[in-house]
């Protein structure tokens, strides 16, 4: 069963198409990567799926629930982690996890959820310190733990390792990989092609609001005769810019 179905999704701001008629789906047990240059429409897509932005047209269904007509049910199934998401600085790490657990679980189930979050964050005794004393890597581990501790059916992660050093990024990637089960899926966006190659079962390349390529990393490597995703990405981007040139000359 598909946990996410996106068809003909379009988002416009005036005459500008931020996302233009995109289609993709994510099945249970999958990690799906949305890659593309800055301003390609990745974050807009993630925000629409997370019920933060409205769509202009098309259809988005999470676990069978429409994001526009049934946003509350969608929010029960998802967990969204914005790029460089912050936390409430006056709370301790544990208090922050308890605060979020308060939205997702009944009182009896909350301690177990918080325990799971603490185990994902792996901050040791520092979980009882104020978040304002955390390093960037620690804060990210806490927010990743917050996003995954409730075992969401669909975790939506926007640039989960952005700004992290090699060690912290590696840890975060392992957390994401371990979190996946047959009944859950992850949708992530990233600039890091190696990360996408390592983590994702399937990827979609988005440029100018349009999905220009979709497939598994291996199938794309074979199709484009490249050894890694970065080369594929560069090849596609170059092809697209060449394709745009006649239009620009005409203009």
């Amino acid at each position: 069963m598909n946990l996410l179905e996106v068809s003909g999704l379009t988002k416009t701001y005036g005459t500008n198409h931020a996302v233009n008629a995109i289609d993709f789906h994510i099945a249970g047990g999958e990690i799906f990567g949305l890659i593309g240059p800055n301003g390609a429409g990745k974050t807009t897509t993630l925000r629409i799926i997370s019920t933060l932005l409205s769509k202009s047209s098309g259809e988005v269904k999470v676990c069978g629930h429409d994001v526009q007509t049934d946003p509350h049910e969608v929010r029960r199934s998802i967990s969204y982690l914005p790029e460089e998401a912050g936390v409430y600085k006056n709370l301790k790490g544990r208090e922050y996890l308890e605060f979020i657990a308060g939205f997702h679980a009944e009182k009896k189930e909350r301690p177990a959820m918080v325990e799971r979050g603490m185990s994902i964050a792996n901050l040791g005794a520092r979980i009882n310190d104020k978040v304002s004393t955390y390093s960037k890597g620690m804060t990210r581990r806490l927010t990743i733990a917050r996003a995954l501790m409730m075992n969401p059916k669909l975790a939506i992660l926007d640039e989960p390792t952005s700004g992290l050093d090699v060690i912290n990024a590696h840890e975060v990637r392992n957390i994401i990989k371990k979190s996946i089960s047959e009944r859950s899926a992850v949708l992530l966006s990233s600039h890091n092609m190696l990360e996408v190659d390592y983590l994702c079962d399937r990827i979609a390349l988005i440029s100018g609001g349009v999905i220009v390529e979709t497939g598994t990393p291996d199938s794309l490597k074979e199709k484009y005769q490249c050894s890694n995703i970065e080369e594929i990405f560069m090849k596609i981007v170059e092809t697209l810019s060449h394709a745009d040139e006649p239009d620009k000359k005409r203009d």
Partner: protein, 417 residues
């Protein structure tokens, strides 16, 4: 290079919102200046009074003549009832002065003579008692006239004590303050007693609203800056719950902090108060129900302030821009604060009355004064009005929370096009 840096600083600091704040402050100071100017003009005017002088003789003529010069007489006759009616009918009448028959005889007998004064107090604002203050000073000059007459009349005999000649009269005064008749006090003394209602309450309300408002706006700015708002909005909880949670949380903290501020401010203001007059004896005290109403009025007004702050907070991009957005609330709270300090609701023009009623912050500032005079209707209407406006604001906020504007920001029309 220096110019380059200066240009950058000016560009950074002189934003449209900063200019708007400067304009608001200029207008507010201008209005304050106008108010003080009006107080100065008022102080130059002669007080309007009615006199009933039943005494006959040269002293009575001298006093009548003196009062004709120093005041504007709207009634001069023998009937106390007629004089009082004329005074009440006049919008500016301050007092009815009665000098009974036998006035000079009492004085010459070495006893203090009685001047009866029936004051009309129209409001408890600082400017409402200017005329009565002028009349009080006129009474001192009136006493000098009497002293001079006594010296002339008894210069050959010299059997009056100097203290009697210098203080020849005793004032028997009552103040009619709307529906109440307060014995043995002039409007000025009553105004001194009510100084806490005139100054402390408006200031305290303003502090509460500013504290609560800035908390909500700052919280919104920080939520946006730290991207915690995006996380919050994807939680399985209704937008109304998020909005109400923010408002109620800030209201609780605002009231708690305000309680401490008010204690400190009360100590400061009590140094100006006349501590010897018991409000209960004057019938100007409040009962438990009145205090509950004042609390409800304050809370409903605070809720409006917080809802307004939240609406403004939606426009905040970050912590810095949030700070500037508190100024519209401050401006809106300052208007009723100054108006209610200087004038009573009943003594202002219909336009000012409308302005005062429309701004929900006015109601808790005026509530105590209204309840002192048992004007429950106005206080209740104020509460209902504030809650209604708050409910409308919350509905608008929830609607905005359901749109993209919270994430994408509210763009100026020009840019959007």
């Amino acid at each position: 290079m220096l110019m380059n840096l200066i240009k950058k600083e000016i560009k950074e600091l002189l934003t449209p919102s900063t200019v708007a704040v400067i304009l608001v402050i200029t207008v507010l100071f201008g209005s304050m200046g106008k108010l003080i100017g009006a107080a100065k003009d008022e102080a130059k005017k002669k007080p309007t009074i009615a006199i009933v002088i039943k005494e006959k003789g040269p002293l009575a003529d001298r006093l009548r003549e003196f009062l004709r010069t120093k005041t504007t007489l709207i009634y001069e006759g023998d009937s106390r009832e007629e004089g009082f009616a004329a005074l009440k009918a006049s919008k500016k009448g301050v007092a009815l002065v009665i000098i009974d028959q036998g006035f000079e005889k009492t004085l010459l007998a070495g006893k203090p003579a009685l001047i009866k004064v029936e004051w009309i107090m129209r409001g408890a604002g600082l400017m409402d008692t200017i005329s009565s203050g002028i009349l009080e000073r006129t009474f001192l000059d009136l006493n000098k006239q009497i002293s001079a007459h006594l010296i002339d009349a008894t210069k050959d005999k010299g059997d009056l004590s100097s203290s009697h000649v210098l203080n020849p009269t005793v004032k028997f005064e009552n103040t009619h303050y709307k529906s109440k008749r307060i014995p043995a006090l002039s409007p000025n003394k009553i105004a001194q007693v009510l100084v806490s209602q005139s100054i402390t309450i408006p200031m305290a309300v303003m502090i509460i609203i500013m504290l609560g408002g800035s908390m909500v706006i700052t919280s919104m700015g920080l939520e946006k800056e730290n991207k915690t708002l995006e996380t919050l909005l994807t939680m399985p909880v209704s937008r109304t719950t998020i909005v109400m949670g923010k408002i109620m949380g800030s209201a609780a903290v605002g009231l708690f902090m305000a309680a401490f501020y008010m204690v400190g401010f009360k100590f400061y203001v009590s140094s100006f108060e006349t501590g010897t007059i018991d409000l209960a004896l004057l019938g100007l005290d409040l009962n438990a129900f009145d205090y509950i109403l004042v609390g409800v009025s304050l809370f409903s007004s605070l809720l409006f302030g917080l809802a307004m702050a939240m609406l403004l907070g939606i426009m905040a991009k970050d912590y810095k821009s949030a700070q500037v957005l508190t100024y519209p609330i401050m401006g809106l709270a300052m208007i009723p604060m100054f108006l209610t300090m200087y004038r009573d609701f009943d003594t202002v023009t219909p336009l000012v009355k409308t302005v005062l009623f429309v701004i929900p912050f006015s109601h808790p500032m005026m509530a105590m004064r209204h309840l002192t005079l048992d004007n429950y209707l106005l206080v209740s209407l104020g509460i209902v009005y504030s809650l209604t406006v708050t409910a409308i604001l919350i509905a608008i906020i929830v609607k905005i929370f359901k749109t993209d504007k919270l994430i994408t920001g509210i763009m100026p029309l020009r840019k959007r096009a």
